[in-house]
Amino acid sequence: MRPARVILIGGGLAGLMATIRVAELGHAVDLFSVVPVRRSHSVCAQGGINAAKDLKGEGDSTWQHFDDTVYGGDFLQNQPLVKGMCDAAPGIIDLLDRMGVTFNRTAEGLLDFRRFGGTLFNRTAFAGATTGQQLLYALDEQVRLFEAQGRVRKFEGWMFVSAVLDEAGVCRGVCAANLRTAEVRTFPADAVIVATGGLGAVFRHSTNSMACTGSAQSALFQQGAYYANPEMIQVHPTAIPGEDKCRLISESVRGEGGRVWVPKTPGDTRDPRSIPENERYYFLEEWYPKYGNLVPRDVATRAIHKVVYEEGLGIDGKPTVYLDVTHLPREMLTRKLGGVLEIYEKFVGLDPRDHPMKVFPAQHYTMGGLWIDNEKQATNIPGLFAAGECEYQYHGANRLGANSLLSCIYGGMVVGKSSTQYTQGLSADSESTSSGVFESEKKRQEEIYARLRSQEGDQNPITIWKEMGELMTQYVTVTRKNKDLEAADGKLADLQERYKRINLADTERWGNQSLHFTRELSNMLVLARLITQGALLRDESRGAHYKPEFPERDDENWLRTTRAKYENGNFKFQLDPVDTSLITPRKRSYKS
């Protein structure tokens, strides 16, 4: 074995798992992250992680997990990787358990499991209601051990700006900017793995963290990496609307018995606790008797929109519904859901154990992402790999709850191995790549930064960001109409024009956050248009993508991956067949 150097971009679950695998295989890792990795967005995942361990004697199986996942994704996934993930899941839970994750336990000291959306089985392992935090910490600690042994170097506070591609188009390293000093530097590597998460910032009000801008994916797309199913955006049914962000209220709340309802009388202003049972409309339970409150997220979100916007039954006439746990035992709520109920308590000021929560859907997850192949998580750029939310493989048109932590870890495992295998086949390692390609990439990026700093325009980056977010939230989330999408794309193009006249109000190099944010903003605008154009293209309804003009799923024309390629500022879409070799697509309905 020839020891290689692998660069990891992103220190969330996928990035850390890949780091561990690469280091374990005896290769050196340089790990880049905009935040200290322990503060990555994976900490926000609340409810749990799926694995069909069948510890409750329900007859669950990894095949059933696979089937639920593919059905939940409305058959848009290439199936082999998904099957691999579901098969690996029980082993992944054991691994995390060995690493010290504080999973909830049964009386016998075994792992406890709970229900989640889109399945009828207790399949979700959990650590209170902060499972993502606990998982991230466990992996962070393993990486810290490797770091102490000198096998991993961390570059925290460095932002990826581009890949370094050689004359043959092979990825030979990355170009990154130091968030503190604004230094732009190139770093050579034999392989590069991106694990940069979702793109919630494109929608501005999202459940994502501020670092989830999608900038890296966008930069790579503009450098020639394919991007697949951009239109597949998950809107989570239950979040607390907020001025700075929407805070997630986990699906596990419903998994433990929480019920969604609105008063039957429009504009009913009574205290919810004084509204009698027979005057409450438990619309999810009524419409979907089998799955009830645990229908998949796309279904629940559309139902809430329907009850609010079509039936006019939002609480106080506003776009909110009740998520109610007041009927459940307090001790259980604290033990199993404490972390998430605390968020409501702190940010709204009411204890959900006594007061039904007021919630509404918010942008939550990016199913689409960088295109990767069917087995190695390799992008179309040789030497460039992707794992986690930033790629498109595992969730199709809709992700099931508690599958994201799993796909991040599984993807990290796959890519850790495949990327190092790739390095063994390299004839010339990155050391021998001509320094010219590094120099010219660095120069290109330095010029962009210099221009941003010195530019004297009349446009504020935050204003452009807000307007982009409003357009995306209004026209490109739950209900999509072609006329609106076309108009939105035009307005996004206008924002790109205005971006050219941007003014940072800060010309410093040191600690200039506007500078880096504005650099990312140009990439966000590209993604916004990509999502919008992808949505415009797909004339059907599938999973999270819903067009009232085309209300049915259309397998004949649209059982396809939309794969986009960047060409001189334009997007070229190609439709690829989906690998459905293991489960034949069938009609998706959660009614019975």
């Binding site: 082993g91 963290s209 968020i343 702190k346 000021g349 600690g511």
Partner: protein, 250 residues
Amino acid sequence: MAEGKTILIRIKRQAGPDQPARWEEFSLKWRPSMNVIACLIDIAENPVTTGGQKTTPVSYEANCLEEVCGACAMVINGRSRQACSALVDQLEQPIQIEPMSKFPLVRDLVVDRSKMFHNLKRMRCWVPVDGTYAIGPGPRIAPERQQVAYTLSRCIMCGNCLEVCPKVNEHSDFVGAAILNQVRLFNLHPTGAMHSHERLQAVRGIGGVQDCDNAQNCVKACPKSIPLTESNNDVNRQAIRDALIGWIFR
């Protein structure tokens, strides 16, 4: 609350570690459910002081905005806390914001807390595993013990407990309650406990548990209600016991 209301906010600005500090005041438009982060975003959109002076957007650290990543710790109205959960309607005005004082300043409200992560390394805060392959289940753990461990493991490394600790200062290397709490956590895990001796050895070293003066400020400042004084005392007892055992069986 009436619409059209304004928020007054004073922020301590400093362009860099060697630059002079100054205060700037901003007047912002009030909206429902605003927190300090929303104020900082507003300022970035219109960086003009109440005196009409153009200034730069304020530098600050933030990420998750739901008090689980630990990034946005700062001193608000004299209290070290997370800015995301500092709701404007619950704060006295003018809202006064300063960077944490116990960590090296970077710019404005950004400080460098990397020493906390470094100390996690020093104190060997991990459960070592043989490998990441499927080599069977983890140890069985009683639910009661899991509940204790889970409470400790919710620490977000915000550093508020260090900021309020009298023993964390330029004359001392005290690692602080957050780190000692992690030592307790890893010593509680069945596999982690196999390596407790090396952790306790580290804990008896420079800046270790003996530096704790039991001022108990830490536990009051913890946004996650972690029983930090209990952790300090527990680790102290463990460290003494470990030293005695080492001395007896030397």
